[in-house]
């Protein structure tokens, strides 16, 4: 594949090396002449000097035949423009944007960038999975429909304990798809299943239902 990376910082540089090792054709576009020279000395002539948000630069880089473009500068607005120009002017099939400010991840999605990566959000997700104090854990995102799979653990003093599932205020678009109890086979939760302390539910949720589901199973 021909992959263009805009931004020759730490991420762009390491990504380039890894992709070259995998046998891809890679080009970095970097505005800073010093960084550009450094990259070319280190890993061969793979860096072109220029502003990757400019149409003319992207044309010189042969963006029309690129299979993928990765915008990895440390300015979110530049990453947005790189991806939009690549998509709309050069019809690049796959665009990936690094998002420096995690708040921008949602904005980028709304503005049509198909793949975004936020280091802050990634680390946060890992923390949530590693640290057991979080009662609700995000397991999987299914981006297109705004759906995600989460795990909710019922804590010791939850008001849900001893109640049947149909007595709980489970939000309407939520699907409780599995119940995992200690030392037992996974179960399919039914309306009359009674919730116990330590129960772990795997649920598919849509949109903003996360907080409601958490409140129903975990309490305030």
């Amino acid at each position: 594949m021909y992959i263009i990376i805009v931004g020759g910082g730490k991420i762009g540089y390491s990504l380039c090396k890894a992709l070259l090792d995998e046998g891809h054709e890679v080009l970095i576009i970097e505005t800073d002449p010093g960084k550009c020279e450094h990259i070319n000395e280190e890993i061969g002539t793979v860096c072109m000097r220029g502003d990757g948000t400019e149409t003319a630069t992207l044309a010189d880089a042969g963006t029309t035949r690129a299979d993928m473009i990765v915008a990895s500068t440390n300015e979110d607005e530049d990453n947005l423009v790189v991806c939009q120009v690549a998509r709309h002017k050069f019809s690049v099939p796959r665009t990936i944007a690094l998002v420096n400010n995690p708040k921008n991840e949602a904005i980028f999605k709304k503005l049509g960038i198909d793949c975004t990566v936020s280091a802050t959000n990634l680390i946060l997700e890992h923390i949530q999975q590693e640290v057991p104090t979080h009662a609700l854990i995000h397991l999987l995102k299914m981006d297109q429909q705004g759906m995600q799979v989460v795990e909710v653990k019922v804590p010791q003093h939850s008001p849900a304990i001893g109640k049947r599932i149909d007595e709980l205020p489970i939000p309407p678009t939520t699907l409780l798809s599995a119940l995992i109890r200690q030392d037992a086979q996974p179960l399919l939760p039914k309306p009359d299943t009674v919730v116990g302390a330590g129960d772990r539910f795997i649920a598919v949720i849509i949109g903003e239902m996360e907080e409601q589901l958490r409140a129903a199973l975990v309490g305030a």
Partner: protein, 133 residues
Amino acid sequence: MNIIIVGCGRVGAQLAALMDAEGHKVTVLDVTANSFRRLPSTFSGTVMVGDGTDEGSLRKAGIEKADAMVAVTEGDNRNVMSAQIAKHIFKVPRVLCRIYDPLRKDIYDTLGLEAVSPTTVFAQLLKSRLEAT
């Protein structure tokens, strides 16, 4: 009209002063407070330190009630991002932005942004002046 101007450079400040003098409600947003020195002492609108590409700052500036938004910071890409947030996320009825690079302006024209390229406008102006004498 309720107008938000992002970027208080020479153009932003002058536009703010003109609209304010005509009785519009103007809010100017800039990342550095020092930029507001460009506004005339008669300016009666609101100034706010904040980033025009940040949803929170725009909200604080009252973008949800704005009739128009103009993005005139120094960076083309910043203007493009601000303008798109205003238009597509906050649904501001009228959004204008400055894009120096004429090629980039063309792309964003096709993406539905109302963009002005001072480069093209000024070059054409100079050309017509030259031809007039």
